[in-house]
Amino acid sequence: MKVKMLSRNPDNYVRETKLDLQRVPRNYDPTLHPFEVPREYVRALNATKLERVFAKPFLASLDGHRDGVNCLAKHPKSLATVLSGACDGEVRIWNLTKRNCIRTIQAHEGFVRGICTRFCGTSFFTVGDDKTVKQWKMDGPSFGEEEEPLHTILGKTVYTGIDHHWKEAVFATCGQQVDIWDEQRTNPICSMTWGFDSISSVKFNPIETFLLGSCASDRNIVLYDMRQATPLKKVILDMRTNTICWNPMEAFIFTAANEDYNLYTFDMRALDTPVMVHMDHVSAVLDVDYSPTGKEFVSASFDKSIRIFPMDKSRSREVYHTKRMQHVICVKWTSDSKYIMCGSDEMNIRLWKANASEKLGVLTSREKAATDYNQKLKEKFQYHPHVKRIARHRHLPKSIYSQIQEQRIMKEARRRKEVNRLKHSKPGSVPIVSERKKHIVAVVK
């Protein structure tokens, strides 16, 4: 008679070496793991709550300036270096890892209006209210040397902004007109103008590097082509645009920070309708900078807060503020897309995390898997009311909060009035204008 016995193959459970992982047999039969939706829902809810618990975005404050910080610049090669120019003409270079100032230059008399680094990171340019453009070495002066600029260009008018070309030894300044300079010359190689108002900022396109965008105080945004030495098109908005920023991953997209509390993302080929109107600020937006991934951008506002917007959403996903932060004048997203810097009126530069609840430093693989899973869960259940409520909740200073309420009421009233007008007039006589088109006054060819 044959006796049948239970037998097991040791290959199935014995490790070959001690270093091998223990084999955990799992049965994926769905009947053994019931209630998948409720369980995942609870996990998602917990993940959302934890995200809020761990949301501590503020990292450091760099103090040292003796006047409001007017402009910021990133170093193109070093993540730890950042440059700032203040309203008293002082330029400081900071080390972010040590969180201290490594160099101080009294660059101009009056404001430092603009600062930009050369693409190679060896030198940087500043423009100031003293009608000069100065080029400085990135490294400090050697022992016993005087701190002085490499070149100084004396202009006829005040320059209000500067930006360097992304590949070549060319930079652009703005003021009465947009000038394009060769680094070796003291005269601009070409000047472009369209209209008579002063131009507040000029930006090179990082991808198609011959393109420039500028915004002037007569409420318009003008695009230029450097190769053909001609302006391309002009769009006039309701109110003045303070600055623009090009998307570093999408050549034809740029975002404009406007005085009417909104930001407008344009496709430069179709300027008559912005791709998206981003609204959440309650005061003029002063600066904007794209994340190097091109998916999000950060905006600084006069309402003492900075906000992070996804490029394709009209509402912000995050708002940062502190009690002591005053009107934020400039903002930059670091080139590793992890941090945000902002310079404000009260002389400080602040360093924030781009993802408020992100854990900094090296993650173990299990930690990483867990965060990824949590992220996916949050995404999956983002429409559920409780998750949504917790994820959306932000504490705001009273001033901003009350202004938001106020503006909501105003907006509602306007909308109601519009609806009423539409209702009580002959059909077709009152045109329905979409929110996007509402703010565009004209496009000039």
């Binding site: 998948e36 090669k77 060769d182 991934t293």
Partner: protein, 772 residues
């Protein structure tokens, strides 16, 4: 605006031209017409004009008839005669002299040419420039469209997009670039650099290194060539090996093995002749290997490979053979003295999985009888074995018997093999017959009459045998039965499908046929159907309930008949009040009748009432039965808990609130909605989804590792954007995505003095614009 203006100016120009084409001396001035006082003069002029119409082209000088401020000596008054000087006037005197013909011609040519148009004003020109430039730029930008779209839709984006090459700068380079700033630093630096002492590797100075490196040119060349050759050869071999490794053909490998074995043999022979002691050593080594092999029981049927083959053996001839060979090999190894078989084929295929023992052993056995006496010892026995194994197709009872005699443990295995073989044969046969079927689907019944029954009976026996061996020891009875069955089946098979292994199906078809016959749709055939059917029933007890089924079907038919004959129940609407009906005129009634007739089949009201009743039932609180069978009394199959106990443990549900729709006959109010749950539910379908089912499906598919395998979990939870900490993400470049960079240099194109395109060209564009 400006466009309009330009158009107007153009118009004006062309009008002027037209004026010029009018009769030359026709007065066209307008200044003279003014005022009443010079009416006479006007009259005079008119007369003159009329007189000039008669052909004579008389020219009159303007007469000064009154005081004028501007008097010229050439009798040209400021008023003028209103005549314009045109080219033809100038040409008139030329007409006479032939010497001026060339000039005349030239002048004519000039005359035929059109006047140059006015240049556009600066603004216009700039505008056109801008437009052209914008179109060009936006065209250039549109090349980014696909990339942007791709990146937006990408499942995952990893930044930085392009991997940077980590550049390791040797410390010497770094140091050479560095210069001392302070005097002290400089001094130290000078000291260090004076003797050119290397910084990191302080063994050799550059001079020494140079002297060491010195090598004559020829030497270097030769060495280089050698290296090159070696590299090339290596790469060839590698490629070849790779190619050969990829070849899946068993035959090829067989041949290869054979070749290898032969070569080994040859080598061995050579060795034996040249150096007998070494050969002996070799042999010993081989023997040792064999012993090792025997000890480690590698050829037991327990390996992964063997197991997989055992699974596949049912379906695959080759796997079966391989298994057999392995078993044989095992047997050989287990028998100490009966060494290996001679058959090469077995050997080779058996050795596919273990290259441990080279084939040389067997070869030596066959060819060399001298050097190893124990190898020859059992030659005859080997031969017998080989004979048996050589003909696996004929493997049959005697062989099995022998095996059982020799080793009792092996018996089941052998049996299994036989079974497998039989099975395989049968399968082959079936295939063949299947092929036959395919080739001759028509007239199969006639042709197969003679041949199929025999084959079929054979098949039957085979299958029965197989069954018998698989099931139990009561083979004999069953086999007898099987034979009988087969015999009985004979005629049935003749007229039907010869391979009816799926009996139930066939029975079903027969049943159907029969039914059809009964109902008279089908002419009865002179086939021994009833008998057949009985047989079938006998054979398949599963099919017994066939008869009741039939009955049922019949009943259904009858029911259907009933339905058809009886009138459809008249629908009385409970809802519609009768008073209104009275008021309705005939037309409406007709219409209502029509609707009634149209929807006669579906009784909406009854359905609704039923639905409501069901809803009420469902919403009623249920009693809770907490009785546990076997608790406090005997339990088991067929035993029920006592009524007393049931009564005791039955918790009656409290009577809930009355339903809200209790008094409303036409309404069902759903009271199921749970407020507490509703707080957690999504109320509006979120944006990207178009249907609630889509959304529900995404929610219902879990992504956690509890429900998914590790790999799936990882795939499901990959983050959309991955950035590396500490890496600078640069803006996307045309080169990154495979485009040529937009321009050699942005600067080189800047024109110092931008050349304007010709005005004519612009004019065309302008016209186009103005049309628009």
């Amino acid at each position: 605006m400006s466009v309009m203006w330009a158009a107007e100016s153009l118009q004006a120009l062309s009008e002027q031209k037209e004026l010029e084409d009018l009769p030359k001396d026709y007065p066209s001035s307008t200044s003279e017409d003014e005022g009443e006082s010079n009416g006479e003069r006007k009259h005079q002029k008119l007369l003159e004009a009329i007189s000039s119409l008669d052909g004579k082209n008389r020219r009159k000088l303007a007469e000064r008839s009154e005081a004028s401020l501007k008097v010229s000596e050439f009798t040209v008054s400021s008023e003028g005669s209103g005549e314009k000087l045109v080219l033809s006037d100038l040409l008139e005197p030329v007409k006479t002299s032939s010497s001026l013909a060339i000039v005349k011609k030239q002048l004519h040519r000039v005359k035929s040419k059109k006047t140059v148009e006015l240049p556009l004003n600066k603004e216009e020109v700039e505008r056109i420039h801008r437009e052209v430039a914008f179109n060009k730029t936006s065209h250039a930008l549109s090349k980014w469209d696909p990339i942007v779209l791709k990146n937006r839709q990408a499942e995952q984006l990893v930044f930085p997009l392009r991997k940077e090459q980590s550049a390791f700068a040797p410390i010497e380079h770094v140091l050479s670039g560095w210069k001392g700033r302070t005097p002290l630093e400089r001094e130290i630096f000078n000291l260090l650099h004076k003797n050119k002492q290397p910084v990191t590797d302080p063994l050799l100075t550059p001079m020494e290194k140079a002297s060491l490196n010195a090598m004559s040119l020829e030497e270097a060349k030769v060495r280089r060539a050698e290296l090159q050759r070696a590299r090339a050869l290596q790469s060839y071999y590698e490629a070849k090996a790779r190619r050969e490794k990829k070849i899946k053909s068993k035959k090829y490998h067989k041949v290869l093995k054979k070749g290898k074995a032969k070569k080994a043999l040859k080598d061995f022979e050579k060795l034996r002749k040249v150096n007998p002691t070494a050969a002996l050593e070799e042999l010993e080594k081989l023997e040792k290997a064999r012993m090792m092999e025997r000890m480690n029981l590698k050829h037991q049927n327990s390996g992964k490979w063997a197991k997989s083959k055992a699974i596949m053996a049912k379906y695959d001839l080759e796997a079966r053979q391989a298994m057999q060979e392995q078993l044989a090999r095992n047997k050989e190894l287990m028998q100490k003295l009966q060494v290996t078989s001679e058959s090469e084929e077995e050997e080779r295929s058996a050795e596919e999985e273990d290259d441990f023992v080279p084939d040389a052993i067997n070869e030596v056995q066959m060819t060399a009888d001298g050097p190893n006496p124990w190898m020859v010892r059992n030659h005859s026995g080997d031969a017998k074995e080989a004979e048996i194994q050589k003909d696996p197709e004929k493997l049959s009872e005697p062989m099995a018997d022998k095996a059982s005699e020799s080793e009792e443990e092996e018996r089941p295995v052998e049996e299994e093999e036989i079974l497998l073989k039989e099975f395989e044969e049968r399968r082959l046969f079936r295939k063949k017959s299947g092929l036959n079927q395919d080739t001759e689907p028509v007239g199969r019944q006639e042709t197969k009459g003679s041949s199929t029954p025999e084959m079929l009976s054979e098949l039957r026996t085979l299958s029965q045998k197989h069954n018998k061996k698989h099931q139990s020891r009561k083979q004999k009875v069953s086999s007898v039965k099987a034979v009988m069955l087969v015999q009985r089946e004979g005629p049935a098979e003749e007229e039907d499908d010869p391979l009816l292994l799926q009996r139930p199906e066939r029975a079903k078809t027969l049943e159907k046929l029969e039914e059809l016959g009964k109902e008279g749709y089908f002419q009865n055939k002179e086939l021994p159907r009833p008998a057949l059917k009985e047989q079938q029933l006998e054979r398949n007890p599963d099919n017994q309930p066939g008869a009741p089924k039939e009955k049922k079907r019949k009943e259904q038919m009858i029911d259907l008949q009933n339905i058809l004959t009886t009138k459809s129940p008249s629908v009385k609407s409970l809802v519609v009040p009768t008073t209104i009906e009275v008021l309705e005129d005939e037309q409406e009634r007709d219409q209502k009748q029509m609707i009634k007739e149209a929807f006669a089949g579906d009784d909406v009201i009854r359905d609704f009432l039923k639905e409501k009743r069901e809803a009420m039932e469902a919403s009623k609180p249920k009693d809770m039965d907490l009785t546990l069978p076997g608790w406090g009394e005997w339990g088991g199959l067929g035993l029920k808990p006592s009524a007393k106990k049931r009564r005791r443990f039955l918790i009656k549900a409290p009577e809930g609130l009355p339903r809200k729709d209790k008094a409303l006959p036409n309404v069902i109010i759903n009271e199921k909605r749970n407020i507490h749950a509703a707080a957690h539910q999504v109320r509006v379908l979120p944006y990207p989804f178009t249907h609630h089912q889509q959304f529900e499906r995404t929610i219902q598919t879990p992504i956690g590792s509890t429900w998914n395998t590790q790999r799936a979990f990882q795939k499901l939870t990959t983050s959309k954007i991955v950035t590396k900490p500490g890496h600078i993400i640069k803006p996307i470049k045309a080169e990154d995505v495979g485009y040529r960079s937009s321009s050699r240099s942005d600067l080189s194109v800047i024109p110092r003095n931008p050349k304007r395109p010709t005005i004519c060209h612009k004019k065309k564009q302008l016209k186009k614009n103005s049309k628009d």
